[in-house]
């Protein structure tokens, strides 16, 4: 399975399951999803978390580990990750919808309330969602974090958005 990931760039179901918290924790509120599966020299996520929810690194090549009791799902680390590999999922948003926070480095930025296409890890269109919140990146060149409302069953599938307004698509 791991070999597959290194030839496709898309993590397997097993890899994803290994990084999400228990059902009980998921029902409590937003949680971080760190899709970082390869040891590379990088540690800004650990330093970005003001709650100490990302455990201290023993070496610079460590893969981040999360303390689920401390993670509030605030999304600060989403903007901090140089690899754009961190997301936040909130499955408590409503009975039918979840929130997904994702890093977004395209212009124009989406606006609150805007309808957007929800994309999978392979860029396939899954459904239509609505932009809930846009958190601009830190100056001078930080990463914007977009929170989108998505069908609840797609909480672990939606990892990108595409603007559908005229002239606003990020591809083609």
């Amino acid at each position: 399975m791991k070999n597959d990931f290194l030839s496709t760039g898309i993590p397997s179901l097993e890899q994803i399951e290994a990084i999400v918290p228990s059902k009980v924790r998921r029902e409590k509120g937003p949680f971080v999803v760190i899709e970082c599966f390869q040891e590379i020299p990088c540690d800004p996520c650990y330093h970005s978390c003001r709650f100490g929810a990302i455990c201290e690194f023993a070496t610079i090549n460590d893969i981040p580990k999360v303390d689920w009791d401390k993670c509030t799902g605030c999304g600060i680390c989403v903007a901090a990750c140089p690899g754009l590999a961190i997301f936040v999922v909130d499955e408590t948003f409503s009975d039918t919808e979840c929130l997904v926070a994702l890093p977004y480095e395209f212009l124009p930025l989406p606006e609150k309330g805007e309808k957007v296409s929800l994309l999978s890890r392979s860029g396939a269109e899954l459904a239509t969602g609505e932009v809930h919140r846009v958190v601009p990146g830190r100056k001078p060149a930080g990463t914007t974090v977009v929170w989108v409302r998505a069908p609840k069953e797609l909480s672990m599938e939606v990892r990108n958005i595409r603007l559908t307004r005229r002239g606003g698509a990020n591809r083609e």
């Binding site: 070999n3 990931f5 290194l6 030839s7 496709t8 760039g9 898309i10 993590p11 899709e35 970082c36 599966f37 390869q38 040891e39 590379i40 020299p41 990088c42 540690d43 800004p44 650990y46 330093h47 070496t59 610079i60 090549n61 901090a80 990750c81 140089p82 690899g83 754009l84 590999a85 480095e105 395209f106 212009l107 994309l119 999978s120 890890r121 392979s122 860029g123 396939a124 001078p140 060149a141 990463t143 990892r159 990108n160 990020n170 591809r171 083609e172």
Partner: protein, 368 residues
């Protein structure tokens, strides 16, 4: 003839860091680059860098370049010579020959650091001379330095970090990336970079290569095909892609012609990028007083180049008597440890093996 304590060829991340390090101990530095601004390849890197939080991880390359250039500009011991090419180094009398905007000039440095970086590898295929076939560096320069779109639709060749990053940047610029092909069975660069472009819908085709480019006066399309374990194209697997840009990101070679000319001992280590100079643990080549740092020493990441620049800078300051043995040892250990940690992960395995092979070579060679 003008003199200087340290001449540095190449004002990229390695060269600037070496300049700042050496200058901090009072070494008088002349920092030379053929570009008109310091920064090297960093000036086109719009992505955020990895590494340590304390060492500008999470900062975009362009921002790091601006910061380094500003520090070099403000440093009274660093003199930047832009638009200047280093033509040769003549050991018999220690003259460095430069082509400046004002003509050919000689410069006599007490120490010389070659931080010339790397050049892109070309790929052989029919039609590779058509306009529209670019190196990835040129595509980045057009887009990220000059704000020019290289074309409408791109085939990217090579899945190392450069191929992955440039595909992402093309998408950011609104350019369609039709596909990325990789000859090996696995993606060469960091998985997070690959995931980023997959989420945009860009396919990554491993075990695929370009068969040919076609077009009347410029690239109008490319034929790609699957390749077998012996790197041979599989007939019948061809696909026709309508693209107007073919972007080559098929690896880098250390830009070491200058070191050949100067007479430094060279050795061939594929894991480090091909021919590299033989150098010791202080980054000194077999020519006493001539040092290297960055991609010219081994093809790696910018963070490694910066650490190597600091290491060479402090070693040069020590060799000039500007820093005590004790202080030098402490500083040196710090940079060596930093390099070890940067190379500790599985993605650096080949580099570590290559460097071990280089150390074997260093032991066999005699310094002059």
């Amino acid at each position: 003839m003008k003199t200087t304590e340290l001449a540095i060829i190449g004002a990229g991340p390695a060269g600037i860091c070496a300049a700042l390090e050496a200058a901090s101990y009072g070494v008088e530095v002349t920092l030379i680059d053929r570009g008109d601004m310091p920064g090297g390849q960093l000036v086109k890197q719009t992505h955020k860098f990895f590494g340590w939080h304390e060492k500008s991880a999470g900062t975009r390359g362009v921002v790091i370049a601006r910061d380094l250039a500003e520090r070099a500009y403000r440093d009274p011991n660093v003199q930047f010579m832009g638009s200047t090419e280093a033509l040769g180094y003549y050991r018999d009398d220690g003259t460095l020959l430069l082509e400046t905007p004002y003509g050919i000039e000689g410069l006599k440095p007490k120490r010389l650091l070659v931080a010339a970086g790397a050049s892109e590898k070309m790929l052989l295929f029919p039609g590779n001379d058509l306009p529209g076939v670019y190196g990835a560096g040129a595509v980045q320069t057009l887009m990220n330095v000059h704000g020019v779109r290289p074309g409408q639709s791109v085939l990217m060749i090579g899945s190392g970090n450069i191929g992955l990053i440039v595909s992402y940047q093309l998408a950011q610029a609104g350019v369609h990336v039709e596909a990325l092909v990789e000859a090996l069975p696995q993606i060469g660069g960091y998985a997070v970079h690959a995931s980023k472009i997959r989420r945009l819908g860009i396919p990554i085709l491993t075990k695929h290569s370009i068969k040919e480019a076609y077009g009347e006066r410029c690239v109008e399309g490319a034929i790609i095909w699957e390749i077998d374990d012996r790197w041979q194209g599989i007939p019948g697997s061809e696909k026709d892609l309508k693209v107007d840009v073919i972007c080559l990101a098929t690896g880098l070679s250390p830009l070491c012609e200058f070191l050949w000319q100067a007479g430094a001992e060279m050795t061939y280590i594929p894991a480090l990028g091909g021919f590299v100079p033989v150098y010791d643990e202080n980054m000194q080549t077999t020519l006493t007083g001539v040092y290297v740092a960055g991609d010219v020493a081994s093809i790696e990441e910018a963070s490694t180049a910066m650490a190597e620049g600091h290491l060479a800078g402090v070693a040069i300051a020590h060799s000039l008597g500007k820093i005590s043995d004790v202080d030098f040892e402490a500083k040196r250990k710090g940079y060596v440890k930093e390099l070890e940690q940067l190379r500790a992960g599985p993605t650096s395995k080949k580099i570590v093996e290559g460097l071990a092979a280089l150390r074997d070579e260093t032991g066999k060679r005699v310094s002059v």
